[in-house]
């Protein structure tokens, strides 16, 4: 009698069968393949249909238009831009404007969100009620409405440039925005920047060293006097040797507006305010949920160790809460970035306004421009969630979870 085992079926085929077919086996695989073919066919139909329509209407396809001159101006540009630059540069200008409002908005939303969450959790009756009212009002009003509210409120509250509010004679606040002195590089700029960079790197190295000593030998090394010296003392000494790194150009009222200086436009202020306060209401609830998810025994354990309430929160509760907080927090960051496209309502020149709006209607290249805009939003969102995933992974790892 032969005891030879039955020959196992080939591994790869089994794998395909399991992945594609699931419980249905080879029948399932066939259905999946057919479905994929149909999806492909629909995709092909859509593309060829669009192409045929474009050809019928003699609309030029392709990205050649990006090299044409835009011929319009933008009122906030982080890189130099004039009307005679190309549509590609308009794209970059709009993208940077979107990014700056998103990053600043995310920072403020996170700060406000944490503060409001701590208010809501506070044993103080008044503080917790204030936090609750904030959350309930802000998150229940449409964000577009809030953007318009802040814009019109900001504008209505400010005087025209000729009656602008002077802040110490160097900065001016009016309905044209906040004008501040702008730094102009001087002779000592390069050594100053080099020394500052050196100071930052050296401080980071010190911190790394001190932490290792703490975790491995239980040694507490006091590094803050050295850090202070590196970050402030050294650059100060450089200024004394090489002269001022930059001088300030003061804004001056000329005709209708201020000349010189840098300006923060009211559209930016209104958009950032609206987006960060709105998103903060959601972040507050996420943070509150995260903190409540940590067992109250942890708080009591901290207290019994003699830690203050603040120190217990900072050292024990928040690190554990972060595990719960990070994934929904990422969603809020993505929402804020995408909501920034509502900027067009108040004339803030973001990507959607200058590229998917003005450039689209100047060139008529709807498919290309919308595809580019969608692609870049997708990229920003994927990058944000990748960064947050890495952060979340680090948080979990440090807790040994």
């Amino acid at each position: 009698m032969s005891t030879e085992a039955r020959k196992p079926p080939p591994q790869i085929a089994l794998k395909i069968r399991r992945i594609l077919g699931g419980k249905a086996g080879w029948n399932g695989v066939a259905v999946q393949l057919a479905f994929a073919a149909i999806l492909g066919w629909i995709g092909y139909e859509i593309v060829s249909n669009a192409r045929a329509n474009l050809e019928n209407q003699h609309i030029a396809a392709g990205f050649g238009f990006l090299r044409n001159n835009a011929g319009f101006d933008v009122n906030q540009t982080l890189i130099s831009y004039t009307g005679s630059d190309t549509f590609l540069r308009v794209f970059v200008v709009g993208l940077l404007n979107t990014l700056v409002v998103s990053v600043v908005g995310i920072v403020f939303a996170t700060l406000i969100g944490f503060v409001v969450a701590l208010c809501r959790l506070s044993p103080n009756w008044l503080l917790s009620r204030v936090g609750e009212i904030y959350v309930e009002i802000i998150r229940n009003l449409p964000v577009l409405f809030q953007i318009l509210f802040w814009y019109l409120a900001v504008l209505a509250a400010l005087p025209n440039p000729r009656q602008s509010i002077s802040l110490l004679g160097i900065a001016f606040l009016s309905n044209r925005g906040l004008v501040i002195p702008s730094p102009v590089g001087g002779s000592g700029l390069e050594p100053f920047l080099a020394v500052l960079a050196l100071g930052i790197v050296a401080s980071l190295v010190l911190r790394f060293y001190a932490r290792r000593a703490l975790f491995q030998q239980g040694q507490v090394i006091r590094i803050w006097p050295y850090v202070l010296g590196l970050l402030f003392g050294l650059p100060l000494a450089t200024i004394l040797v090489f002269g001022l790194p930059f001088t300030f150009e003061l804004p001056q009222l000329k005709g209708f507006n201020f000349a010189g200086g840098s300006r923060i436009i009211p559209e930016f202020v209104a958009l950032t305010l609206a987006l960060s306060t709105y998103t903060a209401a959601f972040i507050a609830e996420i943070v509150r949920a995260g903190i409540l998810s940590v067992h109250k025994g942890q708080m009591e354990a901290g207290a019994s160790l003699g830690l203050s309430r603040g120190a217990t929160l900072r050292l024990i509760v928040v690190p554990q809460a972060m595990r719960v907080i990070v994934p929904p927090l990422t969603n809020q960051y993505l929402n804020l970035t995408k909501n920034s496209s509502l900027a067009v309502a108040i004339g803030y020149p973001d990507l959607v306004s200058v590229f998917a709006g003005t450039s689209l209607s100047q060139t008529g290249q709807a498919i290309e421009i919308i595809a580019m805009t969608m692609g870049i939003y997708l990229l920003i969102s994927l990058l944000t969630s990748a960064i947050m995933s890495i952060y979340g992974w680090r948080v979990s790892r440090s807790l040994g979870a």
């Binding site: 057919a34 249909n49 609309i59 009122n75 209708f256 309502a345 100047q362």
Partner: protein, 369 residues
């Protein structure tokens, strides 16, 4: 089981061998799955059926309605009144086309569009004609896949400022903040004008006309710029129209006209000749009041135009009495102008360039013969 193929084909209304092939060969193990597949196919077939149609007139007739793109509210050109009825010069062009096709000027669906969405709406076939104070330029006429059919209003770009600024000329606007609607030729003319005159400015571009006017009124900018007719129209919307003035400079040529998609010459002709018919009617003194009497006259030109002689309307794909229908729907060009933007309207704009060619203006229609 093989019944499903032909039945589905009949239902889809297709004899396309490709579709037939797919339906008959994809026999799933269970009937349910085949239904799902068939539905997916039906969806796909629906998609491909939306291929560009060069038969706009037929589409409009089948729909029983003309779909016309207009502005989101520009008094005198296209704006809804308190009962939701659209009025204005651009609106009357749509009504005239509907009148010529259906003998009923109410058979128009108005689609309000922002400046930046208007061309996409036309390209995608959402609207049959765009009649929305749109400036005729070479790039729009060529690269957008659409054609301008004529000029309904000769305009030019101007500036409006608060009187309190004490500015009397656009050349005094150095370093001013300017509010403008995005996606317009206005935006580009503005850049050109300030650059040519070595002046600095700050542009704040808004999505819609109303947002732009609101920001100007809130003091965000010193200057509001758009076509001069639009300045007069928008001035009426401000709280105190008399605190604002339109500067004398006109910095551009803005011939405004309707647009249609490329690829349908018959439809292009219909929209083009609807405007010409309104102009010809004014030239011949045919008005909405006297059109029936004029049609009885033995004057050969009158007979040709009003369709008692010849078949020009039929050559367009319309009826013999197409001009009569148009004039009954909206009156001649002069009547429409006066009612909407001219002496008979709150805007009270002079005919100026928009007068007939034989009265010192630029409006000129080729002969109907």
């Amino acid at each position: 089981m093989t019944l499903a193929g032909p039945v589905l084909n009949a239902w889809l209304g297709t004899d396309d061998p490709e579709t037939t092939f797919l339906v008959t060969t994809l026999k799933g193990p269970k009937p349910m799955k085949r239904v799902t597949l068939a539905l997916t196919l039906a969806l796909a077939a629906g998609l491909s059926a939306q291929a560009a149609d060069a038969q706009t007139l037929k589409t409009v007739k089948d729909r029983g309605m003309l779909s016309c793109g207009v502005s989101q509210g520009l008094p005198g050109f296209s704006s809804p009144d308190d009962k939701g009825n659209w009025t204005g010069l651009d609106v009357d062009v749509c009504r005239a086309i509907a009148g010529a096709i259906f003998n009923d000027p109410t058979k128009v669906k108005f689609v309000p569009l922002s400046a930046k969405d208007r061309f996409t709406a036309l390209q995608s076939g959402e609207i049959d004609v765009l009649s929305r104070n749109t400036t005729w330029t070479i790039s729009r006429d060529t690269s957008l896949g659409a054609n301008f059919t004529g000029v309904t209003y000769y305009d030019g770009q101007g500036f409006m400022v608060k009187k309190s600024l004490k500015v009397n000329s656009a050349l005094e606007l150095n370093s001013a903040s300017v509010c403008v609607q995005t996606g317009t030729t206005t935006e580009q003319n503005l850049a050109d004008y300030f650059k040519a005159n070595n002046m600095k400015y700050e542009v704040i571009a808004f999505g819609t006309n109303d947002e732009t006017v609101k920001a100007y009124e809130a003091g965000r900018c010193d200057v509001f710029t758009t076509d001069q007719s639009g300045l007069y129209a928008n001035r009426l919307k401000l709280a105190n129209p008399n605190d604002h003035m339109v500067l004398p400079e006109i910095i551009s040529k803005e011939p405004l006209g309707p647009m249609v998609r490329h690829g349908d010459d018959q439809w292009f002709d219909i929209v083009k000749w609807t405007l010409f018919a309104m102009l010809t009617a004014e030239e011949l003194g045919v008005t909405s009041k006297n059109v029936d009497e004029k049609a009885k006259l033995e004057n050969p030109e009158m007979k040709r135009v009003l369709g008692t002689d010849g078949n020009f309307g039929e050559q367009l794909g319309l009826t013999k009495d197409w001009v009569v229908r148009i004039v009954k729907a909206v009156g001649n060009y002069g009547e429409a102008f006066d009612r909407n933007v001219g002496a008979g309207s709150p805007l009270a704009i002079n005919r100026g360039l928009n007068n007939l060619w034989n009265k010192g203006g630029l409006q000129y229609a080729p002969p109907i013969r």
